[in-house]
Amino acid sequence: MRDILPEVDRMAKELGGTVSVAVRDIKNAFDFNYHENERVWSASTIKIPVLVEAVKRLGEGAVSLDTEFMLDDSDRTPGSGVLRFMHGGMPLTYQDLMVLMILTSDNLATNMLIEFLGPDKITATMRGFGYAGTEVQRKLFDYDGMAKGLDNWIAAADIADLCKRIYLKQAAGGELDELALDILGKQLDKERLRVLLPEEAQVANKPGERDITMHDGGLIWTNDFCYSICVTTHGWQSRSDAYMTIAGISKIVYDAVSGGK
């Protein structure tokens, strides 16, 4: 395997701000770390930990896939997603909320889940996996929480490891992780990690973006190899440069794993 550190370092420095990369080998790949424990605003990438806690609760029998939740007409959390545009009173199942949270990065669905699951419990599950950098302190677009200094955090190493756990069924276990992987695989926004990879690359991921922060984390596999990857960026000047940096680093890793270029 060739040394990708110089190329990653060059791209990270060109972007500016803080760039972190963690790659975890699952099959015929390799581990790679670049400032991997740097704690950054999670943006929507926090939805992977929320998803893991959500499927874990299913296993505990506290809730079922068809448990009904009602779309509250008074709550129109802004930002990504579709529910804020849907008619008030729309009944949704627990599974619908998980699906919308991941596929469309739906903030309203996510807040309904965080409310149900409890931020502390999500954080506790992450601590249980040994993730010091990942924390859920508030709902999304919770301006009161923000004013109190509450925020949500991830580290690239935590997310890459969590994705590996999901793939290996060591997060919530068995069918629960299969469900989580299935939902992540149906992601509609596969852009950053995916855009420069060849057709045969399969991707299950969750990007995140807020102000001067952009991330993407997930799993990448073909018939021959499999790995998890998380690239976080923070403090850059140009959104499009951040996008191209994540895409470029993903391609460097993919080419090194696949033996291409």
Partner: protein, 262 residues
């Protein structure tokens, strides 16, 4: 403007295949055409004409946007969207379906709307508006039709013209056109025309199927606004075409900004 043409040509050549670009001035921008009359496989950009027909029928009192439909196991189609992954029995209004068809390019919502408004009505409306090149011939994920050579087509010049009229409020009338624009502003796919643009300036509809990669929309800043359609097919590499289209969009926006900085 020559610089813009050179830049677009250079990027189009780097893509290979067919690249079609049309810009229509709405306010303080410009008109621009590059191979703008080429018929291109529509992919999901055909959802713009379907939206227009749905809003037209609502305007004319033939349907109501608040009518509810029940999501069933049948009629679900894969590909883009979220409804196919949601629970059986979900209640969706026509407005919900419209929104999902546009902002997440939902194929199931699209097919439900085609059943509601009628394929021939969409085509008749486009013809009457003067858009003979915007044609709906098959439902989403109807690969049998595609195999028989039946497909939906769009023409960049016509789509940009439609969008410009919509933005001016003279396509269906100010109320319906404003709603169409509002729905398009909620778009989640802002990575093609929108990738290199400032945040919040774009209302658009993307499309991608096979080797076709398309995006069309309205760019509106404090200084200027224009409609733009960039359609491509048979290019060498989808990922690189996507980024090339993003760069074309940026060149157009920069040219409009340059025109206004005097």
């Amino acid at each position: 403007m020559n610089d813009l043409r050179d830049g677009i040509e250079r990027l189009a050549q780097s893509c290979g295949g067919t690249v079609s670009v049309s810009v229509r001035d709405i306010s303080k921008a410009f008109d621009f055409s590059f191979n703008a009359d080429a018929p291109i496989v529509a992919a999901s950009t055909i959802k713009v004409p379907i939206m227009i027909e749905t809003l037209k029928q609502a305007r004319d009192g033939r349907i109501s946007l608040s009518t509810e439909y029940v999501l069933r196991k049948t009629g679900r189609v894969a590909g883009s969207g979220v409804i196919s992954q949601l629970s059986d029995g979900l209640l969706l209004t026509i407005r919900d379906l419209l929104t999902l068809m546009i902002i997440v390019s939902d194929n199931t919502a699209t097919n439900m709307l085609i059943d509601i408004v009628g394929m021939s009505s969409v085509n008749a409306t486009m013809q009457a508006m003067g858009y003979k090149g915007l044609t709906l011939r098959r439902k989403m994920y109807d690969w049998d039709a595609v195999a028989q050579g039946v497909d939906n087509r769009v023409v960049a010049a016509e789509m940009a013209d439609l969008l410009a009229r919509m933005a001016r409020g003279v396509l269906l009338g100010s109320e319906e056109d404003a709603l169409a624009l509002q729905i398009m502003r909620g778009q989640l796919y802002n990575h093609i025309l929108g990738l290199f643009l400032p945040e919040g300036v774009l209302a658009n509809k993307t499309g991608q199927v096979g080797t076709a990669l398309n995006d069309c929309g309205i760019v509106a800043t404090d200084q200027f606004s224009y409609a733009v359609a960039i359609f491509t097919q048979d290019t060498d590499c989808l990922g690189e075409t996507q980024i090339a289209v993003s760069r074309m969009s940026k060149l157009i926006c920069d040219a409009a900004a340059c025109k206004n900085c005097g």
